[in-house]
Amino acid sequence: MESYVKLIRTLLASLALASIGVAASASAAEYDVDGVHSSVIFKVRHNGVAPFYGRFNKVNGTFSFDAANATAAKLSFQIDVDSIFTAEKKRDDHLKSPDFFNAKQFPTITFTSRAVKAGAKPDTYTVDGDLTVRGVTKPISIELTKTGQGKNPMGGESIGFEGTFVLNRLDYGVSYAPDGLGRDVTVIVAVEGIKKG
């Protein structure tokens, strides 16, 4: 009889733990990246003289986020290399060639988070993850700021984040023109997410 009571207690305790876990994960809302209202902009120094800006026009991905439990957040996004845009067609074609991104072999740039933690300031988060460019994966850290949250005109719920990080393009094999173009590339990511469901 006592063994049955122990078994029932154990089962109840397991159920309680499981339901706490489910509740925690259920509170982390899932979002799709809104590609039309998200931006990936890069900046690189040209000829050591001036910063030059370009962008990728197509970005998609998903993330989950709960302000009360930031460590449970997850983020992954994909950038279509073919959508690179610098307002000069010949330069865009050159950027897609093996001199830079080799877009035919490596059509996407991806980022997948590994760990998220809340920053010292409100609405700031540090996202550690893996960035893959031209087939090379390296760990990076992005400082993200939550820029807003609320109902959108379509009736859904939106949330926005913005972050900046710097990478050495040579680390990813994007090594053409090491003197003409700076090695450090500043990337600005501004993501608008639309809540799923």
Binding site: K89, K90, D93, S97, P98, K104, P107, G173, Y176, D179
Partner: protein
């Protein structure tokens, strides 16, 4: 890269290395050229790999980017040069076919599925293999029949043409390292003016074919190379082969030097001009198309809405 530095790293250094290796390995000592000597293969492979290392950085072993594997194929070509020199025609063609097929699979496999379906990939694989075999076996057949210096001048013209074709396909980095091979060839030609056997390139056809095939097809498959340009460049060794009997009997030494190059220089100049025109026209056509009819090509989403 500033022009002086580019010249030093991409031309002078590879040429000096080829010259030193050719002198040290001693192929020039022979009174007559020998196809069993691997001197030219080693010297040219070294000049190309050095040019690559100085311009693009040390080649990575097992590169993830398929356009970055040429230095390793070149090293393989140099290692095989001496043993393959002893093979008869049949087995040698078979080896060339096998190596060409390996390069073809290497270059085309990342594009399936996606850019190519299986049939398109197979057709491109055959084209890459054929390119390699024609460069390798075509040059191997014609070079022993003509003056080695004249043959080397024709090959350096061909390599220069390929370098320009790759440049016009929008891959300047690969074009630049093809130039390092041309620099190595230039060094052997200079040495060949003193000892003709130093310019004997028969052992190096595998190395030359590897550089030309991988560079041309990287430009086509992964950038904006042109099929017609590749076809004409591939035909040039066959032009030399078709004229071999005529080229083998020049009356004067100067003609022996100049004729092989003269045979291919006109089609080479014509196709280089065509490649440049295609390159510049492509940019103009796209600019007008993007402005007039295809906003999505200009970075704007035509289905955009709030």
């Amino acid at each position: 890269m500033d022009p002086i530095r580019a010249l030093l790293l991409g031309v002078v250094a590879p040429a000096v290395l080829a010259l030193v290796l050719a002198l040290v390995l001693g192929g020039w000592r022979r009174a007559e050229p020998s196809r069993f000597s691997a001197t030219a293969a080693v010297a040219l492979a070294a000049s190309y790999v050095l040019g690559w290392a100085l311009i693009l950085g040390l080649p990575k072993l097992m590169p993830v980017d398929v356009t970055q594997a040429t230095p390793w194929f070149v090293v393989l070509g140099a290692l095989l040069a001496w043993p393959l020199g002893k093979l008869g025609v049949g087995p040698r063609v078979l080896v060339s076919l096998l190596l060409g097929a390996c390069i073809a699979v290497w270059l085309t496999s990342p594009l399936v599925p996606g850019t190519f379906d299986t049939m398109a990939a197979a057709l491109h694989g055959v084209a890459v293999t054929a390119t390699f075999v024609v460069f390798d076996i075509g040059l191997r057949a014609v070079l022993p029949a003509i003056d080695p210096r004249g043959g080397a001048i024709a090959v350096v013209l061909l390599v220069t043409g390929v370098s320009l074709a790759v440049l016009f396909s929008n891959v300047a980095s690969l074009a630049q390292v093809v130039g390092a091979l041309a620099a190595g060839l230039g060094a052997l030609i200079a040495l060949g003016l003193w000892r003709r056997s130093a310019a004997e390139l028969t052992s190096a056809t595998l190395v030359i074919a590897t550089v030309l095939t991988t560079s041309l097809w990287s430009g086509k498959l992964y950038a904006e190379g042109d099929y017609l340009v590749i076809a004409v460049l591939v035909a040039l060794p066959l032009v030399l082969l078709a004229s071999a009997r005529w080229l083998a009997r020049p009356r004067r030494p100067l003609l022996a030097l100049a004729l092989p190059g003269l045979v291919i220089v006109i089609p080479l100049a014509a196709i280089t001009y065509l490649a440049s025109q295609v390159y510049f026209a492509r940019g103009e056509a796209r600019s007008s198309a993007s402005e007039m009819t295809k906003p999505s090509d200009d970075g704007y989403d035509p289905s955009y809405g709030y």
